[in-house]
């Protein structure tokens, strides 16, 4: 068997941004019919490399070959014409438009005079949606879909054309297991048709499940390619961060304290009903459930962003009223929100100012902001969380996704809360940092903090939590204590199968 002609080949790609050398002579080859993982720490340059490939960024140096033909990718349109389809890391949808219009954005089927052929559009879309096995139809407004379903719409775009190569940039960051299965089917199907797939993810188990080869970037440089079947997680990690990770969980050595936060019969309209749980000082309480189960809404209610229709919240045994985040912060509650770009960060502001924002009123010398104190806080959490940035002045919007997430975490840790709620804390975070964040969460608990972790990743909840609350459709199905939880009964609980609903 002769070597197949690569679908895509990148050679010596260099890309710089002001102050950053994001890609430094990277080469990469994608073969037809292979699923090729691209891995690397946050900020290693994965998305940038793909954007160069997708015609969004022009490289400073280097060359792109499509089926061995040298090609200059001038625009996304051009890339598409060359058969390269790009599923972005950040959702790239028009939420006022229908699912159909989004899936066929830029290539709506036409009648004469530029009129849209709606019939064909809806028919084609419904076919794609069927393949994706989702529960909404072609005419649904995208803005009305959950984040996960929006991600599925994005994935649907890969099925519209006959692509040569499809790039998935962290497609599973907000998907749950059932949707992942669909996605993997889609990928397998593409693979069968000889399409090359580039798959970016920080989730080792996925990488090992579906990819054929793994290429690793490190600090903007190419650091090697491995055959998935012939390697293991440790080797990949080595290549990514230059050392192995200790992924074992530190067992609880500390004593749990009093109940810090308790909810009694909390309801909020149709969003969630009759929610009761508590979390102790020194304890990590996991919230697991399908996307849309209502976990985020509970967190928002605890943080004063929603008004409960009934029920009580108790802090250290006393009932409290939390009408706004200001109240919540005063009571020592911190929330790392789900959507960092929308809720977590002021993207146009620098790193330091973002981090100190909630406490800026206290960091004063006379009427003025004490910039020294601010800088100290920033330095402390930059080191603690290993945030990669050229300096505190860097605009947060220019950081890689993972580093942005760390800024948000730093912001809320620096508030020294009693109760820390983290909603999808490691979405889009690399393995190294993820382990760090998990350790951090454990450490914080060990120091007596009460922590609530909301996550859609089962390994994550299982790994960090002392106790897990399983939610389904706005209700708590089960409250697992440590030891009794297994993957199976967890899945049962969040699918609404379990009958042992805890009151």
């Amino acid at each position: 068997m002769t070597d197949p002609v690569p679908v895509l080949r990148l050679e010596g790609i260099v890309k710089t941004f002001p102050g950053v050398r994001a890609l430094d002579g990277v080469s990469f080859t994608l073969l037809p019919g292979e699923v090729h993982a691209l891995m690397g720490e946050n900020g290693a340059g994965k998305s940038t490399l793909m954007k160069v490939l997708g015609g969004i960024h022009a490289p400073n140096e280097g060359q792109i070959f499509v089926s061995e033909e040298p090609t200059v990718m001038t625009s996304p349109m051009h890339a598409k014409a060359k058969g390269v389809v790009f599923i972005h890391q950040e959702l790239s949808l028009a939420d006022e438009l229908s699912v159909a219009e989004n899936i066929f954005l830029g290539e709506l089927p036409l009648h004469a005079f530029g009129r849209v052929d709606w019939q064909k559009l809806y028919a084609d879309t419904d076919a794609i949606l069927k393949a994706l096995n989702v529960g909404f139809d072609a005419r649904t407004r995208v803005g009305d879909l959950s984040i996960a379903n929006q991600q599925m719409v994005e994935i649907g775009r890969a099925l519209t054309v006959d692509p040569r190569a499809v790039i998935f940039d962290e497609p599973t960051a907000s998907l749950t297991d059932s949707e992942k299965v669909v996605l993997f089917d889609v990928i397998a199907d593409l693979q069968k048709r000889g399409v090359g797939v580039i798959y970016i993810s920080h989730r080792m188990e996925e990488i090992f499940k579906i990819t054929d080869r793994i290429s690793v970037l490190r600090d903007g440089q190419y650091s090697g390619t491995l055959h998935t079947a012939q390697t293991n997680e440790d080797e990949v990690t080595q290549l990514m961060i230059g050392r192995s990770l200790d992924l074992s969980r530190a067992e609880n050595t500390h004593q749990m304290g009093e109940i810090a936060l308790e909810a009694r019969g909390l309801s909020c309209g149709k969003l969630f009903r009759d929610i009761s749980f508590n979390v102790r000082k020194g304890e990590v309480l996991g919230f697991y459930g399908l996307v849309g189960a209502g976990r985020t809404e509970i967190a928002e209610t605890l943080f004063g962003l929603r008004t409960p229709s009934s029920g009580q919240i108790l802090l250290n045994g006393e009932e409290v009223r939390i009408n706004s985040p200001i109240d919540a912060i005063r009571l020592g509650i911190s929330l790392v929100p789900e959507d960092r770009k929308d809720q977590g960060l002021v993207l146009g502001m620098n790193c330091r100012d973002n981090m100190t924002l909630p406490q800026i009123g206290d960091l004063t010398a006379g009427p003025f902001v004490n910039e020294g104190a601010e800088g100290a806080i920033f330095d402390q959490y930059r080191d603690k969380l290993d945030i990669r940035t050229p300096g505190w002045r860097q605009i947060v919007g220019n950081l890689s996704g993972g580093n942005q997430q760390k800024i948000v975490i730093g912001k809320w840790l620096s508030m020294r809360p009693q109760v820390l709620i983290v909603d999808e804390p490691t979405r889009g975070i690399d393995v190294g940092s993820k382990a760090e964040i998990h350790n951090l969460i454990r450490d914080l608990a060990a120091q007596g903090l009460a922590v609530i972790v909301i996550s859609s990743e089962m390994p994550e909840v299982l790994h960090v939590s002392d106790r897990i609350v399983a939610m389904f459709s706005g209700q708590i199905m089960r409250d697992f204590t440590a030891g009794e939880v297994t993957e199976d009964n967890l899945i049962q609980a969040i699918s609404g199968i379990s009958a042992e609903k805890v009151a």
């Binding site: 349109m77 985040p325 924002l357």
Partner: protein
């Protein structure tokens, strides 16, 4: 930091584009006409820019907070008419206090609508442009308002006096600019204004009282408008109901020229001052060379677009927009 050298330099240059443009403009005109840089001419320009400038300071806060204020011109007419009318009725001191109170009340009303009720600021302030004009006409009965004893009142000091050899309007403009610059860049309030304008949702999630911050930006703006009204009234000691008409757009032009983004979250008081001066000196310079006022319109057009273009080009690191 290898990448920084050339690109970084370009960026720094472009970021200061407005200052450089300003300097180039001044030098250019000075070469054409010596009188342009005569001290009295410069003072003259700054003095006649002071009223616009004071208003622009306030609008800078509103714009950085992510909103617009199209009502400042109309509101300035109101302040002017009110203080002139009350001057003869309750005396200058009380008149000034009452005028500030009433103007701040208008600002509070707008701030309430935009901040707390979250109504769109463009439409709210456009509506207020019209409503306040109606209010002014009601107050004055549509008549000109003049102070009876123009020679005998010390009220003229704000607009016509001078202290330490500097005209009072310039002094007030300068002091207010310095104070507001500190407020915006050095205090928690200022930081919150940037945050709210940059990303209001994230600000709320960070425990920032967004509504109150927006409200306060309109209070600052109203305070500036009242000050401008005071300067205006004191300068001419009499006025028509329409003195401020049309100034809202000029003010906005100055703020934008200074580099504040209309999306909110960026801009500085210092740059707004530069924006104001540029508008003032363009007008003056073209006049000295003997060009008609409409040439000034076209030059302003070009300068606004060039200045903002340079600024965005610097931010994205390339001159032409990457949009296909």
């Amino acid at each position: 930091m290898a990448g920084l050298t050339k690109q970084g330099m370009v960026q720094i240059l472009a970021r200061q584009g407005i200052l450089i443009a300003f300097a180039a403009f001044m030098i250019g005109f000075a070469l054409v006409n010596q009188r342009f840089i005569a001290m009295d001419n410069i003072f003259g320009v700054v003095r006649s820019s002071a009223i616009l400038g004071v208003m622009a300071l306030g609008v800078t806060f509103v714009v950085i907070g992510g909103n617009l204020d199209l009502s400042v011109g109309s509101m300035m007419s109101f302040s002017t008419i009110v203080v002139l009318d009350l001057h003869d009725k309750i005396g200058p001191v009380m008149a000034i206090l009452a005028m500030f109170a009433l103007t701040l009340a208008l600002g509070a009303f707008i701030g309430f609508l935009v901040g707390y009720l979250k109504l769109n600021s463009l439409i709210v302030t456009l509506g207020m442009l019209s409503a306040i004009h109606g209010l002014t006409l009601t107050w004055s009965g549509g008549k000109n308002m003049d102070i009876a004893d123009k020679a005998g009142t010390w009220f003229s000091v704000f607009g016509q006096g001078s202290a330490l050899g500097i005209p009072v309007p310039i002094l007030i403009f300068g002091l207010l600019a310095a104070a507001l610059s500190l407020l915006l860049s050095k205090t928690p309030f200022g930081r919150r204004v940037y945050a709210v304008g940059g990303n209001g949702r994230a600000a709320t999630f960070s425990g920032i009282p967004r509504a109150r911050v927006v409200f306060m930006t309109y209070i600052v703006s109203a305070f500036c408008v009242a000050t401008a009204g005071l300067l205006q009234a004191s300068r001419s000691l009499g006025s028509q109901n329409t003195v401020g008409q049309g100034m809202e757009l000029e003010v906005l032009a100055a703020v934008i020229l200074g580099g504040a983004s209309l999306l909110g979250g960026s801009g500085t008081v210092f740059k707004t001052v530069i924006g104001v001066l540029i508008l003032g000196f363009i007008q003056n310079g073209l006049l000295l060379v003997g060009l008609d006022f409409y040439v000034q319109y076209m030059v302003t057009w070009a300068i606004i677009i060039l200045a903002v273009w340079l600024d965005v080009a610097a931010k994205r690191g390339r001159l032409w927009s990457p949009i296909a």
